[in-house]
């Protein structure tokens, strides 16, 4: 009995070790979206290119698409832009853009000079849809299935690695299910 007590510090150290080891390599800034498995929040936003066209959440119906939150004020968005163009042109991925808290003229100029990977772009200057989506740092990229359900959120830059390791398998999975 007394011998058993001597092992308490070792047991404590092992438990603590296991708990802390589980935390290694995890990014504390990475938060899971509260919307996973839920439909994209309802919205009514003007198209970036054409202020007279109002877009609603039915634009997500029919195919699995990416929803990319971007703005010209966001340096990391500039970093990922060539990769988005690559995805759209080489892989044929439908990408819906959400132009978040931005200026229309600057956004259009950006698309003209850097290329336009988006099938359609939502213009959200007040950030209302961004707020409902729980966007806390652009760029963010969501996988939305053919029924308009949010399946995954990636916070940060999309690049080749993120595409092959995370986004492509998800898109393939939900395309099969749909």
């Amino acid at each position: 009995m007394k011998r058993l007590f001597l092992f308490i510090p070792v047991m404590l150290a092992i438990t603590l070790g296991v708990v802390m080891y589980a935390g290694i390599g995890k990014d504390p800034m990475h938060l899971e979206s509260a919307l996973i498995g839920k439909p994209v929040p309802a919205f009514e936003l003007a198209q970036l290119e054409n202020p007279d066209v109002m877009l609603r959440k039915d634009i997500f119906n029919g195919q699995v698409s990416l929803l990319n939150v971007w703005g010209t004020w966001c340096p990391a968005c500039r970093d990922e832009h060539p990769d988005l163009v690559w995805l759209a042109e080489e892989k044929g991925v439908p990408i819906v853009g959400l132009n978040y808290k931005d200026n229309r003229d600057q956004a259009l100029q950006w698309l003209q000079s850097l290329g336009d990977p988006y099938t359609v772009n939502l213009f959200d200057p007040s950030g209302s849809l961004g707020f409902d989506l729980g966007v806390y740092g652009a760029p963010e990229t969501y996988v939305v299935d053919a029924e308009g359900i949010v399946r995954y959120r990636h916070v940060g830059v999309v690049n080749e690695k993120v595409w092959y390791e995370t986004l492509e398998p998800l898109i393939r999975k939900y395309s099969r299910e749909g």
Binding site: P28, M29, L31, E32, S33, A34, L35, K101, G127, F131, D132, L133, G134, V135, Y136, G137
Partner: protein
Amino acid sequence: MLRLLTLALLLTGSLLAQAATNDLYPLDSEADRERFRNLTKELRCPKCQNQNIADSNAPIAEDMKDEVYRMVREGATEEEVFEALVGRFGEFVRYRPQLEPRTVMLWATPAIVVFGGVLMVIGVVVRSRRNTEGASSLSDEQRRRAEKILQTDEPDTTGGSGTGT
């Protein structure tokens, strides 16, 4: 004198800050102001993770404050405001997450640790008490023998020292 002046300045500064939030988010009743203050203190900024939204100037915290303000003005309860924001940003934005299967360990760990500590202290105390009791409780036979040894020992030692001199 200088110290007094600094103190006065600091005090007016903090009062001004308080007044500034009241001006930025004007509310009619003291109850509403109180609710707004509590909520913005209890909600955590997702971008700047160790600040509440009352202290944070991040754009996302501003948006959240605006939303809380709008809801408070419309008479929403604290619980409704929490639900609205947790629905968008996840349980993370609450400094006090609710008790659910995922957070059981979070809430239970302090209680378990305290309980374990109390158990250990009780164990140590009980054991040391038992030991001291055991040491004092000699059987009658042992006690008689000990007394005899002490008595026979005493003259022996004095006698020993006597022969030495």
